[in-house]
């Protein structure tokens, strides 16, 4: 196979991964790694590097659009980012001491967990009228547009949110993913933020967390430009297309089917790792 053929195939499958990542809500990064590892036999370190760059690109693109809609809470984002960057740098530094098969196994587990979390979540209306003490001091509470008015929300369990965000950052750095599912879980389920505020604020944070790990990735040589460029361009294009169609299709069963396809990819990666093929 020539480099040209390889790059075109990589581009095509990265578009597909970006599309599936957007449609399932899992994000392009966690989907593209098993594709690269299982289908193209790319070294998992390079796959993680390419994914990390794609994650920065897609989340930045989405964040730019979301910032105008008025859901993103910058204060909550930067408060939680304190823990996320710390986790990210520790995670990125841990890569070089962990064997590759451990990374592959961990990635499969996170993939299954994220699929589960993403599929089971649903929007609920919050009825809290007071917030955690830290939230009052740091002025984390905010309002969001709902039904033509700005509805207030009150932040709960601020310290626990910080801890979970540290873990999300750690996984992001360790595996080259955005950890969007876990970030949303921390804000939506623990801090009890409205779902749309949680997803847009998570999106705002992902790029900063990933950029923190990227320094270490560059330094250790995990970011291979020749592999990264078709993957990054493909994932951006796929995610963009996915976001466009997402408004038109609201079929839960389709999301379940896509998630199963992605999980099967994870199973294949797990199998090949355990069989010693990777």
């Amino acid at each position: 196979m020539t480099i040209l053929t390889f790059s075109i195939l990589l581009l095509f499958f990265s578009i597909l991964a970006g599309l599936l990542g957007a449609l399932t809500g899992l994000g392009g990064g966690i989907v593209v790694i098993p594709v690269l590892v299982v289908l193209f036999k790319v070294n998992i370190h390079y796959a993680m590097g390419a994914s990390l760059i794609s994650v920065i690109a897609t989340s930045s693109g989405a964040a730019a659009a979301y910032l105008r809609e008025g859901y993103t809470n910058l204060r909550i984002g930067m408060y939680l980012e304190v823990a996320a960057v710390l986790g990210a740098i520790i995670g990125a530094l841990l890569i070089s001491v962990l064997p590759k098969n451990i990374l592959a196994i961990l990635l499969s587990i996170i993939l299954f967990l994220s699929s589960y979390l993403t599929l089971k979540r649903h929007e609920e209306d919050e009825s809290y009228i007071s917030s955690h003490a830290w939230s009052d001091v740091l002025k984390l509470n905010g309002t969001y547009p709902r039904g033509g008015v700005n509805k207030p929300y009150y932040v709960q369990h601020a310290p626990l949110g910080l801890i979970v965000m540290g873990i999300a950052g750690l996984l992001s750095g360790l595996l080259g993913i955005g950890s969007g599912s876990l970030k949303v879980l921390a804000m939506d389920q623990i801090m009890r933020l409205p779902y749309k505020v949680a997803t847009t604020t998570s999106n705002f944070m992902i790029g900063i967390t990933a950029a923190t790990s990227a320094g270490i990735y560059f330094d250790k040589g995990y970011i291979n430009p020749a592999i990264t460029f078709p993957v990054m361009l493909g994932v951006i294009a796929g995610s963009f297309m996915g976001a466009k169609i997402l408004h038109k299709i609201h079929i839960q069963s389709l999301r379940i089917i896509f998630s199963i396809v992605i999980c099967l990819m994870g199973v294949e990666m797990l199998y090949q790792t355990l069989a010693g093929n990777l």
């Binding site: 740091l138 950029a211 020749a226």
Partner: protein
């Protein structure tokens, strides 16, 4: 005094410009890379065998615009630098409104990112 709404617009604009610039650089680098090396076999060439032991400072000093890979690296670097600028912009905003908690948060975040990017 700049409002938070204005700040969000500025952040959105910064992200948009950064991502377009980054995609353009990566696209130009990627296409010229394929024009130069596209016909070669991929197993034994640039893609899988080389260990890219690069860092941010080296990208800036060594490559610039004289090789396709250099272009791609500059595009990737743009993407990362844009995130740093985001935190800088937020830090400036919190300095303007004298919010000491958030000034400290942003300085902490900035130090960690910069440590990761420029440590040798």
């Amino acid at each position: 005094m700049i409002s938070e709404l204005k700040l969000k617009h500025l952040l959105g604009l910064l992200l948009q410009i950064g991502i377009i610039l980054s995609i353009l650089l990566v696209l130009v680098g990627g296409i010229s890379f394929l024009l130069q090396h596209g016909g070669e076999s991929y197993q034994n060439n640039v893609i899988l065998s080389t260990n890219y032991d690069i860092d941010i400072i080296k990208i800036w000093h060594n490559h610039h615009f004289n090789s396709p890979i250099g272009f791609i690296e500059l595009g990737l670097l743009t993407l990362v630098i844009m995130q740093v600028l985001r935190v800088v912009l937020l830090a400036l905003y919190y300095i303007l409104i004298r919010d000491y908690w958030f000034i400290s948060f942003n300085i902490f975040i900035l130090s960690i990112i910069l440590f990761s990017l420029i440590r040798q």
